[in-house]
Symmetry: C3
Subunit: 343 residues, 3 copies
């Protein structure tokens, strides 16, 4: 990791996260590290009883932890209600993102009708199309593409090789990782005798504020309406969002999951990796979906949902599969037994 | 959506799709919209009884619909046998694709031995390699790559950041969305004592005419033969097509599905999202595969196929999983009951 | 496939793979081909009884095969213990990779502080950032990006549009196919009242020697530690490797599989396509995981593992699903029968 630029006293850090400090307020912290790897100028965190053994032996300068773990800590403590959240805050402080110089590369191609805000970085071979608006403080990485009349809100970061299609809207403070595609055509075709006829995809993609989108994830433009990604949504890598999908604020979706067309997902949902969510359904707020789950129908109650079977050694798995495939027969046999018993 | 360039009379539109027009033939239509959002200069469509409530209240200029729904329509009607197909035709007419200027960008790098047809757009920082042929009317987006001796048929559109490898062939009127990779090496390795030895991937990829390929989808080149994508095939986003796969004409495959090597898929199949199709199998024509299905063996009969279990609340799901894992035991118990009964 | 540059005698080829040659040592071979398509100047191979019919009719110049199949071969034979491995070696010899001219394209943007070794190709519009090291013999394709202080080992090939993030390390002789993203941020957020707070991803990605990575595959950088890909690992297309994952040497992972964060996978594992591997688990060496398997828990014994059910026609599948969903009820009924019997 690159060298952080400055150090902070424990008093500073405690104040920023509202922590109760036990230890030397003037000790200086340089960076963050794991409990078991931290050096004496580093800050660590402990979230759970599981790590008490590591906590006991830590060489960190100080540890963010809950009150109940403080007595196990051999070094300075910063007592907070939520150590992981406080860690996130202080890690952002100690390790600010290394910014690119706020310049437009010579080899970038910026249409004269595009509006580029102040303090913007545009990388080599990036392309900003006619009518596009790049608000102040944005980064557009090398080889990235911003389409005609597209909008990128203030302080957003488009990594290299990101593609934002024509007319699409990205909110403020978004982070789009390398290879993200926003605004490709939805998968819409009308069947006919001579094959599929393309249905024009006339909607756009509206991405809210504070959204992060993982590498090579794709979000299609809507057919007639827009595809909508709410504020604070977090999408992992290689996620597929089809046309007309709406995702509510602060929902997080892990890697490899696919959401079919016209489905609405509520706010504050957590969808694990490799799931398949059917099209034209609704999932309400605060639903958790476990990994590799297929969701065929709408979900109307908050809570956790799953499908699928866990891996087991192939021999046992083969036997199970055979059993499942003959369940009909088993039901019939049980019915026969019941009948005979009654007679 | 960008402003469509011109308007059409209902008489015009009816003639183009062979519709029976009931209403004012001289009314002018400007664009398409949903039944429930259409303004009085817009065209809507109604495909099913489910939308009769919306139809009743529509403010559209006219609605494409089937004869049996005409009496429910408060505005002009265009009666057709297949409203969705007719809609696709008229939407293409009313909303023609905004074309790029037919020029080669200054920063594009075109090898002097490449042949570029008339009326071709090549975007900024695109690369056309030695011996490549780009036929008339094509668009090659910013940052796209066309390899040595590759071929792109007339009227095809390669979005920005598309990659077409050496010697690969793309038919006419294809649409490749951003981030598509055609002609990466197949996943071929021979196991040896010191690890895997790469098997050279010497085949190419042959993509037929009228094919559409979704964002970040990948199609590997064949090992010794070519990977073949038939005419009219439609692939959604993030689909993986391995080496030597053959896909028959007019088959459609939805997002996130993976097809393993040397598998042959027939014509007019519909494969839903997140499926896994095994290698070295054959799927016949006109097979439908439902979402998240694993296909381990060849399919020889047309029809619909599925695997997998639907999502349910985690508590019930856990109990089911435990039950399935003990099916062996249940079979034994039923057998014991049957035996005792017979005795 | 492009014309191979030179021919070899059967004696040459036999010597290179330690084969016993039966036939004319001076015959010259030009290229490789399938048994059933080979011309009289081509080399074919036969690995199994299944291909004896093709072997019998082959027109190849010579065939690589096992001793037990030699009597079925109508042409010259090269007898080896492992025909597929020997084929891989000779195919590499007969079909050497067509190299790009060892030059830096005019439109490439190479930071003056980057170190570029001898004999390196850098394609059009590629970007090499400050402090990056590209060792001798590398190829960096058009539009590829190498981040600040990143390292690419000798003889590695980065195809067009590859993205290697800041500080990431790629070993020697690696092959990264088009659209690969190395070093995007891991999916790390701390939940808070106002939504998710980003946890800075401060680790890097370490890719070993002789690694091949398929098109559009993504590997995230670690949160505090590095994500580690061992020597000789082979990843197929559209694979997702989350932060802090460690993959042991010579493990192969097929297309569409996702590995969640902080999971450790052993050496010489084979993981098929579309699998979902849970986070924070360990899979030991020499584990085979079949296609579309969900792995929820650690695997401590080598061997083959699977989950999931095979596809069947929808009607039968629907009945099975209903049966599985009522297994609880069936268990209760069997228990009731047992109880009554005992009484």
């Amino acid at each position: 990791m690159p060298m952080p630029p400055k150090t902070y006293t424990l008093a500073d850090l405690a104040e920023r996260v509202g922590a109760q400090l036990i230890g030397d307020a003037e000790q200086r912290v340089h960076s963050v590290a794991r409990l078991d790897r931290a050096e004496p100028d580093q800050l660590a965190f402990c979230t759970s009883d599981r790590y008490l053994d590591l906590l006991k032996d830590t060489r960190a300068c100080a540890v963010l932890l809950r009150e109940q773990h403080a007595s196990h800590c051999p070094v300075s403590t910063l007592i907070v209600a939520d150590p992981y959240f406080a860690y996130a805050e202080l890690a952002n402080l100690l390790h600010p993102r290394v910014q690119y110089a706020r310049t437009v590369a010579e080899s970038a191609v910026v249409d004269p009708t595009a509006q580029i805000g102040e303090d913007v970085y545009i990388g080599a071979a990036a392309v900003i199309s006619a009518g596009a608006i790049i608000e102040p403080g944005c980064e557009v990485g090398p080889g990235a593409f911003v389409g005609r009349d597209a909008f990128v809100g203030a302080g957003s970061i488009l990594a290299g090789q990101v593609y934002v299609g024509d007319q699409c809207h990205i909110g403020a403070r978004a982070i789009l990782h390398a290879g993200v595609v926003i605004g490709s055509d939805g998968f819409g075709f009308a069947p006919g005798k001579a094959g599929w006829k393309k249905v024009p995809q006339l909607g756009n993609v509206q991405v809210g504020d504070d959204v992060e989108i993982g590498a090579n994830t794709t979000i299609d433009r809507g057919a007639l309406e827009d595809t909508i990604i709410g504020d604070g949504v977090k999408l992992d890598n290689l996620v597929h969002i089809a046309h007309n999908v709406r995702i509510g604020p602060h929902t997080a979706i892990a890697g490899g999951t696919a959401i079919a067309g016209s489905t609405t997902i509520g706010a504050r949902c957590v969808i694990a990796g490799q799931c398949a969510i059917n099209g034209h359904i609704e999932i309400c707020d605060e639903v958790t979906i476990m990994g590799m789950t297929g969701v065929a129908n709408s979900i109307k109650e908050p809570g956790a949902y799953a499908s699928g079977l866990p891996a087991r050694a192939v021999q046992g798995w083969r036997r199970n599969v055979a059993r499942v495939m003959k369940l009909d027969d088993l039901y019939a046999r049980v019915r026969a037994l019941e009948k005979q018993q009654r007679s």
